[in-house]
Assembly symmetry: C2
Homo-oligomer: 743 residues x 2
Amino acid sequence: MDAPGKVTGTALYAADFALPGMLYGKVLRSSEPHARLVRIDAGRAARLPGVRAVITAADVPDVRYGGSVKDERVFARDRIRFAGQPLAAVAATSPDAAAAALTAIEVVCEPLRPVFDVAAALAPGAPLVHDAWASYTALPILHRDGNVCNRARIVVGDVERGFVEADRVFENRFTTSSVHQGYTEPRAAVAQWDSSGQVTVWSNTQLPFEIQTTLAEILQLPPSKVRVIVPGIGGGFGGKLRIGVEHFAALLAMKTGRPVKVMTTSEEELTAAYARQPATVAVKTGVTNDGRLTAREARLWFDTGAFAGSGPGVASVATLMLAGPYRIPNLLLEGFAVYTNKTNFGSFRAPSGPQANFAVESQMDIIADALGLDPLELRLKNIVREGEEGPTGQVLTAVGLEECLRRAADAIGWRDRRPEVGRGKGIACGWWTTTGGSSGVYVKVNPDGTVALNTGAAEIGTAALTGAAQVLAEDLGVQMADINVVSADTLSTPFDFGAQGSRTAFAVGNACRAAVADLKRQILALASKHLGVEESALALREGSVVGAGKRATLGELARISQASGGGLIAHGTFVAPPTPYDTKRVEGHVYPAFHSPSFHAHATDLSVDAETGEITIHRYVVAQDVGFAMNPAAIEGQIEGGVAQGLGQALSEEIVYENGRVLNANLTDYKMPTARDVPRVESILVQHPSLVGPFGAKGVGEPPNIEPPAAIANAVASATGVRITSLPITAEKVALALRERAK
Amino acid sequence: MDAPGKVTGTALYAADFALPGMLYGKVLRSSEPHARLVRIDAGRAARLPGVRAVITAADVPDVRYGGSVKDERVFARDRIRFAGQPLAAVAATSPDAAAAALTAIEVVCEPLRPVFDVAAALAPGAPLVHDAWASYTALPILHRDGNVCNRARIVVGDVERGFVEADRVFENRFTTSSVHQGYTEPRAAVAQWDSSGQVTVWSNTQLPFEIQTTLAEILQLPPSKVRVIVPGIGGGFGGKLRIGVEHFAALLAMKTGRPVKVMTTSEEELTAAYARQPATVAVKTGVTNDGRLTAREARLWFDTGAFAGSGPGVASVATLMLAGPYRIPNLLLEGFAVYTNKTNFGSFRAPSGPQANFAVESQMDIIADALGLDPLELRLKNIVREGEEGPTGQVLTAVGLEECLRRAADAIGWRDRRPEVGRGKGIACGWWTTTGGSSGVYVKVNPDGTVALNTGAAEIGTAALTGAAQVLAEDLGVQMADINVVSADTLSTPFDFGAQGSRTAFAVGNACRAAVADLKRQILALASKHLGVEESALALREGSVVGAGKRATLGELARISQASGGGLIAHGTFVAPPTPYDTKRVEGHVYPAFHSPSFHAHATDLSVDAETGEITIHRYVVAQDVGFAMNPAAIEGQIEGGVAQGLGQALSEEIVYENGRVLNANLTDYKMPTARDVPRVESILVQHPSLVGPFGAKGVGEPPNIEPPAAIANAVASATGVRITSLPITAEKVALALRERAK
């Protein structure tokens, strides 16, 4: 639905959004990673031409906000916790004037001893990133301790006994780097206050209702005094879930009495956004000689940076991912979110997925190699099957994993895994959740027979609202072209948990089904009266009610209802039913179970240049169990995009830190794959219908991002015999490893 | 609800609305009242600096549009029918550049023989304003014939027999002038097209859904491709019901590919808007010597100008008004809408009301004087009473007219009608409809316990949406401050018949009640589950559900529902039930009966300067049966504003034509009353509850506009003995009449 605007360049994004008389805001950010803030003097900046306001911590309510842990402030108040932390913001009549003012603000601070990574943060006697962590408001289920802002855990059976039962125990350690979501459009917001004391914020957030709540907290207002509207989003991928620049825009607009726009630069994106958490993963797995997994003890430490953000929740998902889609009777899995003096790393498409999957699926190949088993066979021996329990005790249904593995392997030509020297094939599989949460919709039938859908969810470029509209069109028997969508306005659209977690088509689609059920009742009753035919003899199809040789179009019926009944309007709601799980097995879990899980396998065929280490991908195959393929082209688009991003993380992307400062905070030195770098991706849509999703659909947006690092690592190992255990798998890393081995 | 923004000057009006990169549109209008259009040459204009587009009839679809009769085109194509008719439109980078371009367009035309008033238009052999009138698409119920585009009729009993039964028969003739609605904000629209081929128009229309339909007709698009949003309205009063400048903005935006704003000037408002139809009224009434009305034959001719517009419908309402709120057994009442070569006159707050009431109520005093009866007593003897039939046979309920008359008379000190020489008191009474039509609403409860209402009705400054919000707040047991309204967006809000006919609080309020009924079911079910208390033991009050010593706030319940049930959302619809009437009595009626009629009496006490004719109003009292006074302050505001407008029409306002051209097309020479001219208005709210309106409320917005001319005329006659039968009753007209009588 959103393609024409994007293809023709006329689509409106938040970055394009402007209001007459608008000022431009910019944010002064700390260059110190950890320091005591002694003094900020904005006097000179405030007097510069074009400058309308300069604000610092002194100008805003002294509020700590945050999702799981309330540990963040708008501006550093007394302590600076990362290089990039906001210290002040300026509104001026032009972006240049605002930028000039930033350089005129004087900041005096005294450096403090920093912790730059998880190891340093967990070392005995490490400085605390938040001295007062214990006094912060936080979700009570979290397990916090000093620099650990959550430890999530799953315990199943007796892991020690499981290792005793094993013939071999494998212990491996993996690391992954921080990667940016790489959305095309920077974070942008325009804020304007009205005379009723309401602020309206146009933002490219994925979660308008979340931003509404956070802004209300920051501004100390009831949420309904904050209206958040999403004019359009140029990509999100989890990087636009949390507050970005909306609060700066709102506070500057309040101060100046004028609309203010704030938009991030690439440098801000790479130093002070919500890039993926770097992780360290330790996996210990027991296995019998014939390849049966008996036990796993695994730990994943996320660097969450200076604030908890989504770290505590992602740590809990990580434990589910550490189990892998395998039947392992004994588990001790832990995920940690650890404070450091870096930016608040955050959610990125399938948060925790690639990090944990890289470790788990790399180790599966290590095990297979060690036991002389085919990696595919080892997987098939251990994967979960229909009706079996997942690690939390939830019963898994619609499990299409075997089909995914077999079809991906077949497609890549698995039987011939090492066709030539320096060439190899790799496979990796995984599972993922379709996030739950609540969706409500309003639906009306227009007098021309078209249909207007109001949803609180934003279209973030995944065609998920197209999916919801497809469900609506199908259920109501109208054409897709007849659906108009109004979306993502906290005032005019119903609550929605938001465009996250592959849930939009799934949940909004189901809410539409509920609305259509009501509409159909109204439509058939009205048609029966209008046509003089019993309701039982009538059916709704192709935009008309037909029966007993008579016919009334939806448009006619809507016009009749507008004239005599108030119009054909309805509402519908949906919330994913809770997934039963064993509460005794889990601790510290923000998301305790997988909703309508999806299953997938990726396989790749690549060559490695023995000299340079350069990797050339010949083929890349994805077999993904999508439940029901509502929109095959859009799903393939998601798979292709997800693989491209995954290959970026696998091969080239890394935000490089030195002493707490980013060395490559620009899009030249931060290496995202270009069109030249991305291979053609072959998609195989496997369909094991979900019992909950509309028409059996499962969430499809995030999964394609999970397996590429492991699939690449396994193929590189297959091609070269060299196992790379840290991301990205750059050519130089491979070349050095080859040389090391040659020694 | 809208007061703070208006008082502080921060409210957004359509006239303020702007988009980045917006162009400014202006319309070239004919200076000839009736002519053949030979040629338009826009070549030179198009080449002027800043000009981005010039469009004429050749650039737009050749479509005839209109409500009752499709007789109008965007631009004159071959024939010019009034001085002020659009010939071309220009879009340029500034309003000045657009204005300059207008003067560079060459127009060649050949004058035709015009008809400038009703008498000329009805004369045998008169030129036809529309030669091809018979071929136009029109509502089939209309009675059309040449320059008459509708004749509406009510026939009751036998009017000839009624005159025979009468002791005296009175025949009088009255004329009224055209007056402008005098809204503060000119008509304004901004249009912008998007890549999906949808045009969005921000306009200060009272009827966004009507403008959507008309624009779709003009642009030859399905209505859902036209989105109309009302950002705010600076007064409407019926003058912003029909398309104003929206189509020019949309067409210029299509041509230029940029947003375009068009706004009218005062000159355009006074020459080419929808000012009130001038009327000629002939009333013949039979009466017994003791003051019983036996028969009435009355005709009202509206000058509808060059197009039918709302004329045919208003002509039908006029017949109801000609009966007056009286029990007259024999009636022959006719209303005519007559084409002339003037602008398309239109609806103005209580359309037809002041014109018919001026005639009917003036004649009541003429009759009383002739029979030596007290005008109040004559009225009380003949007014309709509870349960009696109106002229169409509808049964009247909640008839508060006697109370209105007695309380207005008491308040003005009726017993002493001529307290001194040159001073007199006048009274006039009337009735009015609460317009029906359909309203739908969406309602949601926010997680802070506030409530968001989506309505398709616009707030036009009458506090009608405040009224609807009051109904919602009252029914749901929350505070008014907790209601947020989203209104008047054809895409995101449900259909509403619009802000017209005193219906908004009435109909939207009732739709809210339906939504609340559904919400209450949801809320009580959820609260019962949450609190563990039987639903029957729970009650909703003051924003909480309470029962069995327990309590849950609406906010809590909304949060629970968002987490576990999709959110507390609902929809509601309302349509006024049809008012039964005798179809045999009426012809040509677009609005065949009065819905939930209201009743009212105005009384005034004034002095007339014997020398200058100048009128000084000492007191002005309105007693209005409002059914139930939902918002007394707002109703008093409506009464005060309506009387001010009515006094303008009564005393000073007139669009003066000479040879089809307006002589006073500016706000200096067109005399609206200022704050200095308007007396304090005393309001008496009479409450006979409607059976249909929310809490018994009736429509209150239009009625105060109806009686001022008659009340003033009757008081002037009482003060001077001189009867003025044409509006406005200017000082010079009174002075001349006094001199005439002295002769």
